[in-house]
């Protein structure tokens, strides 16, 4: 196979996948507005997705916050600007680090779990059995997971932000020797509408990205256990990359919209 053919095949597959993902997303959004709500399933997923990811988010937040605070404090000390540490950490964590790190953690843990679960159900003909019993598998499986993600990801992002700021505070006070009052006052200065809006909008968008990709990959998986494994890997990679790309565009576009509030 020539390089040209390989490139051609890659583009064809990419276009095919994008088209399928688009149509799947339309079906998923359509299912939100159809009759019947699976409240119990949604609550169960909120627990599994949200509470189950809490330790991961806490650990990520505390160490990322400390790491960044340490790196910034050294640089700021050179300029005699250590007092700005709280301000920088507040912007970095709320706008970027918190949403992206939580999103990536979710892409790794939750997207993998959702894809593997749906893929295994498909492989065992459980999805077919559902359809045979007159149940829409997208409504029953994908919608509760999407709702759970949309609710839990922003909440965990807020927790991640808070923990990261706390981790940064430890470094600020005990390593950089910034007073606690100065640090929190600088943090509070940047807790303004624009930053909070971006910081909370991102996880909502990321949650849809993760849900669409994870569910789509699960439903589209084929080829038994090997196929489920491949779908799971693709789901995590695709969700992670998409989160980073979407994050850039949100920052770029929304930043220009709400410049006046920053």
């Amino acid at each position: 196979m020539t390089v040209l053919q390989l490139v051609n095949n890659w583009f064809k597959n990419f276009a095919y996948e994008t088209q399928n993902l688009f149509f799947f997303s339309l079906r998923l959004v359509g299912a939100f507005f159809s009759r019947r709500w699976y409240v119990t399933e949604t609550m169960e997923q909120m627990y599994l997705i949200g509470v189950g990811s809490l330790y991961l988010v806490v650990l990520t937040g505390i160490f990322a916050g400390q790491g960044f605070a340490f790196a910034f404090s050294v640089e700021l000390a050179d300029f005699g600007a250590k007092n700005y540490l709280g301000r920088i950490m507040s912007i970095a964590i709320i706008r970027e680090l918190g949403p992206v790190l939580t999103g990536l953690m979710f892409a790794a843990r939750v997207a993998a779990g959702i894809t593997a679960e749906i893929g295994a159900m498909k492989s065992a003909h459980q999805i077919d059995a559902m359809v045979a019993f007159g149940i829409d598998p997208i409504k029953k499986i994908a919608v509760p997971r999407t709702i759970a993600l949309v609710i839990m990801l922003p909440m965990l992002t807020i927790i991640c932000d808070a923990i990261a700021l706390l981790g940064a505070w430890v470094i600020a006070v005990f390593v950089a020797h910034v007073t606690s009052t100065m640090y929190w006052s600088a943090v509070r200065d940047r807790l303004i509408f624009g930053n909070l809006f971006i910081g909370l909008m991102k996880p909502v968008v990321f949650s849809f990205v993760i849900a669409f990709i994870a569910c789509y990959k699960g439903f589209a998986s084929k080829g038994g256990t090997k196929g489920v494994g491949q779908a799971t890997t693709q789901s995590v990679v695709m969700a992670s990359i998409t989160i980073l790309i979407v994050n850039f565009f949100i920052t770029r576009v929304v930043f220009s919209w709400i410049k006046g509030y920053l």
Binding site: A124, H125, Q126, D128, A129, A132, F133, G134, I135
Partner: protein, 262 residues
């Protein structure tokens, strides 16, 4: 009544069924046989409307399932009970919840009533309800899982048509014998039309007196046991060749609950 008229089907570019036509009358039991990968299970999926034919018509009670919308298709599916390969039980639900799945999803019956009906159904399919009702499918043997799957299909909508996909594959002789008796009992007591897909010749002769041989996606034979014995079609001979030696014994095989139904 189920009728397939000149049905063609393909997965992507891979043809699976070519010009398949046959008719199954009300209360008739038919076995579809053929080598693995010949398209037998695909026929069941098409009848259930899980896949759409490329060409041709699939009529269930005079309605073409390939052209029905979601609502009418759901109504048609209510008339059909499907037993998937390996049962396709929902592995996160208990046996009781699996058997009562349709009632849980589509009715407002209280759990006590659903459990009562599930227990009765488990008894009907020959299982000790007290022993199995709270177990997960993983804790059951292969034969028990198939019986639970049959119970689940029966308790759903009291179907007029039962589709069995390889109901005895992978089971020991005792479990196979029990499943065959159950299929025959259902056919006899409830006058349910049955289509049994299998490549186990001995089991095929025990559950029906009409046989359809699918060979490489085509109907190679459609007729009675006697006609099958006399058939000299190359494709049928090729399929039956490994079993010829044991055929005589198979023809005379007797089952506890009586011979195969008309």
């Amino acid at each position: 009544m189920i009728e397939l008229r000149h049905v063609h089907f393909a997965y992507d570019t891979q043809p699976v069924l070519r010009d398949v036509s046959f008719l199954v009358d009300d209360s008739e039991a038919v076995v579809i046989m053929g080598p693995s990968g010949s398209g037998k299970s695909t026929i069941l999926r098409l009848i259930l409307g899980l896949d759409c034919p490329r060409e041709g018509e699939i009529l269930v009670d005079h309605k073409d399932v390939g052209r029905l919308g979601r609502g009418p298709l759901r109504e048609i599916r209510k008339k059909i009970g499907m037993v998937f390969q390996d049962g396709a039980l929902f592995d996160s639900l208990t046996v009781g919840e699996n058997v009562g799945y349709y009632l849980i999803e589509h009715t407002k019956l209280k759990w006590d009533e659903i459990e009562r009906r599930a227990r009765a159904m488990l008894g009907f399919v020959g299982l000790e309800a007290d022993e199995v009702i709270d177990k997960l499918p993983d804790q059951l043997s292969g034969g028990m899982r198939r019986r639970v799957a049959i119970g689940r299909a029966l308790l759903s909508t009291e179907p007029q048509i039962m589709l069995y996909d390889e109901p005895t594959t992978g089971l020991d002789p005792y479990a196979t014998h029990n499943i065959i008796n159950l299929i025959n009992k259902l056919h006899r007591e409830r006058s349910i039309s049955s289509i049994v897909v299998t490549h186990q010749i001995a089991d095929a002769f025990a559950v029906a007196k009409r046989f359809i041989v699918i060979y490489r996606g085509e109907v190679a034979f459609d007729g009675s046991l006697e006609e099958l014995r006399e058939c000299r079609d190359e494709r049928v001979e090729d399929f039956l060749a490994p079993f010829r030696a044991s055929m005589k014994g198979v023809f005379e095989r007797k089952f506890v609950d009586g011979a195969a139904p008309e």
